[in-house]
Amino acid sequence: METKRFEQLQETVYYQQLQNGLDVYVLPKEAFNKTFATFTTKYGAIDNHFKLFGKDEWLKVPDGVAHFLEHKMFEQPDGVDVFQTFSTQGAMANAFTSFTATSYLFSSTANVDENLTTLVDFVQEPAFTDENVEKEKGIIGQEIRMYDDNPDWRLYFGLIENMYQNHPVKIDIAGTVESISDITKEHLYECYKTFYHPSNMVLFIVGPVDPKATIELVERNQEGREFTNQQTIDRQYPEEPKTVVHKERSLAMSVQTSKCLVGYKERSVHRQGMAMLRHELSVQLLLELLFGKGTATYQGLTDEGLIDDSFSHDYTEEYEFAFSSFGGNTDDPDRLALRLREIVEEAKSRKIDEQALERVRKKQIGSFLKALNSPEFIATQFTRYRFNQMDLFSVLPTLEELTLTELEDVLNEHFDDDCFTQFKVVAK
């Protein structure tokens, strides 16, 4: 077992890689009541073209399979819904699928060992049948319909579709009602076999637990299971142009307030480790410098009546794709898009203000520390960072280190006008 102490944060992480390749992390939080654990595979909605485990041919699966598989994991071989087991043990269980990962989780204030065992067991015991796959189509169909009526979701995906021509990041995570109708239990088993090997997964536990005993519990559990040695997983993604597909599109929905979201598609991807961490934090600092609540811009746009407190900014970076997005509710989406683009261009033409940078740096350091109150944040983010060869606990020292010159370079590279796009939701 390895131990890593972060003195300034007063946190310690315990880590062990098991024989079968599973990475287990424990972060003890003695004063907490609850234990929160995530069991995550590095397999998400974008992984739809891959070499089947142990085979040599490429396989392409219908849109929405990763998410469908997430739903169906909750079926157990004995027919008992695993939610029932968790409830009996006083735990809340859930799962989510992102572009790049699928995560199963529970939180509980009692029976932690039993719940942890249940978590690992149910994810390692698939029980897909033709019947239970068919039954799920109605449920997921309604999940898709729910998102169809959600203007913020449509806005976000509208922007991503503007950016990407071929890359599967543009496909809605749940797929469509049509695409999921093609999904069979064979698809689920194929994806399961390929991506749910322990060596492609991370188990993270935060809470009032004994790290040594907890890791041993998982180790004993895994020793009882047979896994053939996993080879590396071959995944394929299509060629993607550097620039955006559509500069501008809009969608009419049943809303009273219009919405506008703009963003930049990052030209150069395939970063990982420290390079990715520095880049991600740089763009986040820049967005805060450009559009944070403390900027003259924010105040100006508010005074012009173009934004309200729904305005937000975000940066997403993964190995295969990266983009910034910012916007919100507005009376005049066209004018807002125009102003946002102008503001970025204007910022590129002058020096970054040092005092403003120090202020924003402090703000980001504070936000990170605040987030560490949350076991959910720690477990899910640590895992995401780990999948990208980064370390969550390097965020603080890296934020302190980033230089003005580095930020100016990123400002000019990321916010490339050729990679700008805008999407609007307007009243029907």
Binding site: D149, T295, Q299, D308, S310, L369, K370
Partner: protein
């Protein structure tokens, strides 16, 4: 053993509740103002909440105030209004980093408490007793936008429409943020007059949660925060929130949407602090509170009609509200299944296993809430709002003692009030 170490002291015009714990990286403060939920004041209060957080006398622009917060390592200042039964709670909150995690952290606590006091006591007003006009107009516009945006969030919209229909003529039908009509008519002077009234008449409680001693906080507060009250501040348990139903109401509305929203309101006639309150919580849990509940198992898992089919209690109003998203064509079938589940609980058709699962998850939810500063404050403030009838330390015990008969009793006295269905156009 007490779950949490809450110390309460009476200060000038308010009570300080301090909760010392070393589990957070932050110190969180919430100043809660409680007043009756009334048509006359609801919109003013919502607008006031926005005005107070947008600037102060010392930092007269939003940017200046924000710079101070950013310099304090991103200390956050927020205000909000909430409905709790027939009370309207105005809350000003500050969340700051505990200085022990920072290298240069000089007096973050002191400055944060100062900012909190400044937010509520030194608003950005002119000599004529009015808020700065430009800021007033800006916040008015922002609140209007917010009120309009409810329509765009169909789940929220359907829930609000259900309450409109079911609680028409009752204060609970008032929207937390008021109405556009009332907002348009407000002047800066109206809101300032109301601000003075709020300071004098509301029941005020301050919560401070984090690794800090009560006497340290108390020392900082001396001379910093006090209120001149001219009425008795105690929340009295005189709220009458109940209503008897003669006939259920059915309402339908159509919009250009993909998924129908089926929202159903019941009256349990049980509120926080009532002897049957723990049983009402178990009843809701069995019915639709969790993923082992009847609604989840039957509407979703068995019939595949919905992705979500849940119920929740409005614990200060004695309501149980069901929310579900379904194909519009499946309205009759979904409603029928929901009715059947409700009748099943009334008839005692549930197992000890289901009761135990529900109790385990309710107790889990309480213990988990204590692990987040804001949910901890919310939980403890319930104690104040129930006039100290609900005591958290007894709650887990009370929950444990709920019997099958208690659950049936609540289920049988619970009445269907309104079925609201928002569906797509044909």
């Amino acid at each position: 053993m007490a779950l949490v170490n809450e110390e309460i002291v009476e200060l000038v015009g308010y009570r300080l509740h301090s909760v010392k714990t070393n589990k957070f990286k932050t110190i969180t403060m919430a100043l809660q103002f409680c007043a009756p939920l009334e048509e006359r004041t609801v919109t003013k209060r919502a607008l006031l909440a926005r005005l107070l957080k947008s600037s102060t006398k010392k930092s007269p622009t939003f940017q200046q105030l924000q710079h101070r917060l950013d310099d304090l390592f991103g200390t956050s200042l927020s205000t909000q209004v909430q409905k709790k039964g027939h009370y309207h709670i105005f809350s000003a909150q500050i969340n700051t980093i505990n200085g022990k995690f920072l290298r240069d952290s000089s007096s973050l606590l002191k400055k944060s408490l100062y900012l909190l006091a400044e937010t509520v006591l030194e608003p950005n007003v002119t000599g004529q007793g009015m808020f700065d006009e430009a800021i007033f107009q800006r916040e008015k516009r922002a609140l209007k936008q917010r009120l309009l945006a409810v329509y765009d969030d169909k789940m929220r919209y359907a829930n609000e429409r259900l309450i409109d229909e079911m609680c028409a003529e009752e204060p609970f039908a008032l929207h937390t943020n008021g109405t556009i009509e009332a907002l348009e008519a407000l002047t800066s002077a109206d809101v300032y007059d109301y601000y003075l009234e709020m300071l004098k008449t509301n029941c005020i409680d301050l919560y401070v949660v984090g690794d800090v001693e009560r006497d340290v906080i108390q020392r900082e507060l001396e001379g910093l925060l006090h209120f001149e009250q001219n009425t008795c501040r105690l929340i009295k348990k005189t709220q009458s929130v109940d209503k008897t139903i003669l006939e259920p109401k059915y309402v339908q509305e159509s919009q250009d949407i993909e998924q129908g929203k089926l929202n159903i309101g019941y009256r349990t006639h049980v509120v926080v602090g009532d002897p049957l309150y723990p049983a009402a919580q178990v009843f809701n849990g069995l019915f639709g509170g969790f993923s082992h509940s009847k609604l989840f198992m039957n509407v979703r898992e068995k019939a595949s009609l919905a992705y979500y089919a849940v119920s929740q209690n409005e614990i200060f109003k004695g309501l149980m509200l069901v929310m579900s998203g379904i194909e519009s064509a499946n309205y009759v079938q979904a409603l029928d299944i929901i009715h059947k589940q409700f009748k099943a609980i009334q008839a005692g058709e549930f197992t000890d296993q289901e009761i135990n699962q529900t109790k385990a998850l309710l107790s889990n939810a309480t213990l988990e809430a204590i692990d987040s500063p804001l949910s901890l404050i919310d939980l403890f403030y319930r104690q104040v709002l129930s006039n100290d009838v609900l005591v958290l330390d007894h709650w887990l015990d009370d929950l444990e003692h709920v019997s099958g008969e208690d659950i049936i009793k609540v289920a049988q006295q619970t009445q269907l009030d309104t079925v609201y269905f928002l569906h797509g156009k044909e």
